[in-house]
């Protein structure tokens, strides 16, 4: 299956979806939900199919994901993530629950050990889309080889031996490519060494 090049979404789109999601959270807005469904359900289904799920089951999971979007919309925080990123985490968690049949250990919001406030400051709402765009631009700036192993990490279970087998390269090469890719993304985003 050919992989798609990650496109940097056009400006403004992301904020529109976040506004729709906020409308679902605040006023149970069914029209806004229908728009979110039309955009995201076919993509979640596509994501599930890439994970090797057959068509009918992938559709069930996409519907399940969108019902979760409706149910959990009030937990969506537009200062922390865009709608697309938040819906990705819902699809990812469904993959762990339903496909791997495992629990997904996560930090709970009331964790007493959290060393800093869990999110950006309130006035950063407008910044979120810009910050996300810069991460995706960094991803788009990776070499073809690096981008490929990062992308496959989303579709193949760890250990990375499945990726190594698929690309016919040694496991060590997969790991070092991943490490370099993550480092490059970090330096493009201005991380301190």
């Amino acid at each position: 299956m050919p992989d798609v090049v990650t496109s940097v979404p056009s400006e403004g789109d992301g904020e529109r979806w976040s506004d729709m999601l906020t409308a679902v959270a605040e006023s149970r807005d069914r029209a806004a939900f229908a728009e979110l469904f039309d955009h995201f359900a076919p993509r979640v289904k596509s994501f599930m199919m890439r994970l090797g799920v057959v068509d009918a089951r992938a559709e069930e999971l996409a519907q399940e994901a969108m019902l979760t979007v409706w149910r959990k919309a009030n937990l969506f925080d537009p200062c922390r993530a865009s709608a697309g990123t938040w819906i990705f985490t819902i699809a990812r968690n469904l993959r762990v629950d339903q496909l791997r049949q495992e629990r997904r250990p996560e930090i709970e919001p009331d964790d007493p050990l959290l060393t800093s406030p869990p999110g950006p400051l309130p006035d950063e709402r407008l910044d979120i889309q810009r910050r996300e765009d810069s991460v995706r631009r960094a991803m788009a700036a990776l070499s073809v080889d690096q981008a490929e192993v990062v992308r496959l990490s989303f579709y193949e279970d760890t250990p990375h031996s499945e990726i190594a087998a698929r690309l016919k390269i040694p496991l060590g090469t997969v790991k070092s490519r991943l490490r370099l890719a993550m480092k490059r993304i970090g330096s493009l985003l201005g991380d301190q060494e």
Binding site: D38, D110, V150, I185
Partner: protein, 218 residues
Amino acid sequence: MSAGICHHPTQEMLLSYGAGSLDEASALLVASHLSLCADCRAIVDRVEVIGGGLLEALPPAALTPGALSVVMDRLEETSPVLPSAPRQSRASTAFPSALRHYIPNGIDRLPWKRVGRGIEQVTLVENGPVRARLQRVAAGITMPAHTHDGSEMTLVLQGGFLDGGVDYGPGDVATADGSVNHTPSADKVDGCLCLAVTTAPLRLTGRFTRLLNPFLDL
């Protein structure tokens, strides 16, 4: 850098965790480290943003006709999830929240098993050959020399240990693979409580202790 933490999970582990491709035992260790480390949380946030970008860029798959109305009809049967109220503090709240589910009644009520002098352990997650377990090592105790067929990640929860001249303290993650033959020793004052994830059984390599391999549940 987060206060005091010098050793982190590898970038590949953080990527796999954010992507959702990590097994439960390893994910438990990574999520526990995240409670303690703002830097790694930022990296996982970044991975989720990449995931959102991948999702947006996927070619939409055709849905069966009427899928939307099927889901719209089901909206009323689902009630909104309310944010969970902060919990009362309990014995286990001193631990990263990801661990709560696995130690609901605090660590002293767990079925600890003694596996050597001053060394106790209890398995929290077992998935094929991959295991996450808590290990409690008494102050100053040195683990018998061992190596790994697979890899081992160890997150310090309390106390610390010294391995190959490197100190590991609370929040630190030590990563070892088959090339490492080591004899970590627990902190001389506080001992060590840690969460260890192994992808294959440990192998004792000492001249005498290796005879014990078939008998110990390592």
